[in-house]
């Protein structure tokens, strides 16, 4: 019967669409999702080149330098180990950005180890905590 045939065809098309979408998604995720790196992770796993990456940690005291053009800033991100990541960012930093405070940045690593940030993340809410640091900053126990 044509009608039954049609329903089956539609069902198979739907499955194909869903499968296709998932495959497309996985392929895009492989190339475009950005893993989170704390300074210790860079030491442990090596420099992730050619991928967009998110780093997080504490802005080390005394490490912030303003470049001559007035809009480029360089600083060093550290964590509870001795590992550090030097960062360069061109733009207006959010007001929550300061030395001794937490920061999360999106961007890419250069071969020499410098992290060039395209975005410094902050919320328009004073209670924001970068995700990894949220786990660190206030260690909450689980639901039970």
């Amino acid at each position: 019967m044509k009608a039954k045939h049609q329903r089956l065809t539609l069902l198979l098309l739907a499955l194909a669409a869903v499968l296709g979408a998932v495959l497309l998604a996985m392929s895009a995720l492989r190339d475009q999702a950005s893993y989170f790196y704390a300074p210790a992770d860079v030491v442990r796993k090596g420099l992730p080149l050619d991928k967009p990456v998110r780093i997080g940690g504490m802005v080390e005291e005394g490490s912030v330098r303003h470049a001559g053009d007035g809009v480029t800033i360089e600083f060093v991100v550290g964590d509870e180990t001795d590992a550090t990541i030097p960062v360069r960012y061109r733009g207006i930093v959010p007001d929550l950005f300061k030395e001794g405070s937490g920061v999360v940045a999106e961007g890419r690593f250069q071969p020499g180890g410098l992290f060039v940030a395209t975005e410094i993340l902050a919320k328009h809410d004073e209670n924001y905590m970068p995700p990894k640091l949220a786990g660190e900053r206030h260690k909450a126990e689980s639901l039970q």
């Binding site: 900053r137 206030h138 260690k139 909450a140 689980s142 639901l143």
Partner: protein, 175 residues
């Protein structure tokens, strides 16, 4: 075959539920406010958490003068971050006691040696019982207790230099 396929959406949904339930169960940063501000400190008596320091009990907070109570742990990274601020508070004359949560004496001693020791007493809370009774859901947290053992102020998370004023003010108000 088609009948079986009709159950597929349910199966996918069940997987989603399972993943999410696991994630929910493993916890997230959650600032749950203590409902105890304005209420008396719960009764407790804790053994010493570090060699050479006395333990801590709720009776220590009923001596007529306000005190600070800091809930911390040696494995808590942010607690190191707030150590200078605690030092500063002590320098300004605020007496501070502490509860070390889920900790070992040698680790607590090591922590105090490395990051400074602003505490007069440190009680060990190995099973979080006191922490939970205080309505604290994580570390670090700091409470201002007045001289009659009533909780007057709760500070959740790291004490930043900007927070010092608030805590000192709460301490003064508790007199």
């Amino acid at each position: 075959m088609k009948r079986l396929l009709l159950w597929a959406p349910l199966a996918v949904f069940a997987v989603f539920l399972a993943v999410v339930a696991v994630r929910l169960g493993s916890g997230r940063d959650d600032t749950v406010r203590s409902g105890l501000v304005g209420r008396p400190l719960p009764q407790f008596s804790l053994a010493a958490a570090a060699p050479g320091k006395p333990g801590l009990s709720s009776a220590d907070f009923m001596k007529g003068e306000p005190r600070l109570l800091n809930v911390f742990a040696s494995w808590c990274v942010p607690c190191r971050v707030e150590a200078p601020q605690l030092e500063e508070l002590r320098r300004r004359g605020l007496p501070i006691d502490a509860v070390a949560v889920r900790d070992r004496p040698q680790d607590v001693a090591e922590f105090l040696k490395r990051h400074g020791d602003p505490f007069e007493r440190v009680g060990g809370d190995p099973d979080r019982g006191v922490q939970l009774a205080l309505g604290s859901s994580g570390v670090p947290e700091t409470f201002v207790i007045d001289g009659r053992g009533i909780i007057r102020h709760q500070h959740i998370g790291v004490i930043n230099p900007d927070d010092l004023q608030k805590i000192v003010a709460a301490y003064e108000a508790a007199r």
